[in-house]
């Protein structure tokens, strides 16, 4: 068994001020403030839509998922707990889960055919990335990803952007079952420690 490592303490997520603003908007939305929710949408929709689109691929489906995602955010804003992570992290968790649910329930022959293209997608150079968000943050993330092994990047990419289960990832990469989940975890831990996120 791999022992659990303790989570580094101290520095919270980068971009603390923006994060606090999002948390404040969520807080107001939880009380039914639609104007605050509109501001929240403006501040976060590019990252959420970009992620959802990358996972589901079809723009019209991505739009449907985004509607579900923001509805869920609106309904459950009061459940956001700032002690557990950043507001953006929480929003992306909801967005990712919905996107993955969508591709899993709509699994199709076509999707399976695209599996091998997916596999070869580079994780770090996305032509669809909006220039406005190709920020210092994205540069830091790219640099941090360089610290991962190629095998870890590949496994994380298939899981996170491909929406595949670790078992499917293992099969796609010809790995023994159980290896992919370890790569995903080790890679995320390295990313976390390089970026200094988390509690």
């Amino acid at each position: 068994m791999t022992p659990l490592r303790s989570v580094p303490s101290g520095d919270p997520s980068p971009g603390g001020t923006a994060s606090a603003q999002l948390a404040a908007l969520l807080n107001r939305a939880a009380r039914g403030d639609e104007a605050a929710f509109a501001q929240l949408y403006d501040a976060t929709s590019a990252r959420l839509y970009g992620l959802v689109l990358r996972v589901v691929r079809d723009p019209s489906q991505a739009e449907e998922v985004i509607q579900e995602v923001y509805l869920e955010i609106w309904r459950t804003a009061s459940r956001f707990d700032p002690d557990r992570g950043s507001a953006m992290g929480w929003l992306l968790t909801i967005g990712h889960r919905k996107a993955v649910d969508r591709v899993r329930s709509a699994e199709s022959a076509h999707r399976r055919d695209t599996a091998y293209h997916q596999q070869n997608l580079p994780i770090d150079h996305d032509s669809t990335a909006d220039e406005a968000h190709a920020s210092l943050e994205a540069t830091r993330v790219r640099a941090a990803l360089e610290q991962l092994t190629e095998a870890q990047r590949e496994a994380i990419s298939l899981a996170y952007f491909g929406g595949y289960t670790h078992t499917e990832v293992a099969t796609m990469l010809d790995l023994p079952v159980g290896t992919a989940k370890t790569r995903i975890r080790d890679g995320l831990i390295r990313l976390r420690d390089t970026m200094g996120v988390g509690q």
Partner: protein, 243 residues
């Protein structure tokens, strides 16, 4: 034993199948270290989204804002959860305590309302049927303990023709999912036996005739349940191995 902690990364990026997800969420209830790790790994995974940022089509904004208008935000979660996550000592005492209470109540004929004051009338009737099974002379138990410490006992009485499940510290099924119960017949057919109410500690009478059932099982199903299991069982209670 497979190390359930190692699933934290795959869980953080939604890369677990339904059954594993339910199992891991069950584990999370009792493992603060894994909860902290999942939180931090989700945070790091979220950073990856920075690289695929894409402006959504302009019309989407209006649709989203229109759709929330008639929806009421949920209230904050109040700390009811404390109530259901009993410490291990209490968990172990729970079954005998219920049995003792049931025995006394049967004698004085008060019914179960004393121990389950929140139950409505219809479930009192069910509790009584459940107690008949629990107290049946031919009743036999199969107890399973999940990796996170949750326990489920199925008591089967061929004479009563019914089976009862008693759970302790059972974590909730994932969002949009339910725990569905099944009875396995001697010829191997699987018969739906009801959806478990979303409660950590409960006594639930399985639906249907269990007189010749050889096993009971629990699967994770989409909300509303299924006619036949759509996933691997998270628990199988084999009546032929009863002690």
């Amino acid at each position: 034993m497979t190390d359930i902690h190692a699933l934290s990364g795959a869980y953080a990026v939604d890369a677990l199948g339904d059954a594993e997800r339910a199992q891991f969420e069950a584990h999370l209830v009792d493992c603060p270290a894994c909860r902290a790790e999942v939180d931090s790994l989700r945070e790091s995974a979220g950073l990856l989204a920075d690289m695929s940022s894409t402006e959504p089509p302009a019309h989407l904004r209006g649709q989203v804002l229109a759709s929330i208008h008639n929806v009421r935000p949920l209230p904050p979660q109040t700390p009811v959860a404390e109530e259901v996550s009993s410490p291990p000592a209490r968990r172990r005492r729970w079954l005998p305590a219920l049995a003792a209470a049931a025995a006394i109540l049967t004698v004085i004929g008060v019914g179960v309302a004393v121990t389950q004051p929140w139950q409505d009338d219809s479930s009192q009737v069910e509790m009584t049927a459940a107690e008949r099974v629990l107290n049946a002379p031919d009743a036999r138990d199969v107890t399973l303990t999940f990796p996170d410490g949750a326990q489920a006992t199925v008591t089967h009485s061929p004479r009563e023709g019914r089976a009862v499940i008693v759970t302790a510290d059972m974590p909730p099924a994932p969002d949009d999912k339910v725990y569905e119960l099944w009875l396995i017949k001697p010829e191997g057919t699987t018969v739906p036996a009801g959806l478990m109410p979303k409660k950590a500690d409960q006594t639930f009478l399985l639906e249907g005739d269990a007189s010749d059932a050889t096993a009971a099982a629990i699967t994770v199903e989409p909300a509303g349940g299924s006619e036949q299991p759509t996933s691997e069982p998270i628990a199988v209670f084999d009546f032929t191995e009863q002690t």
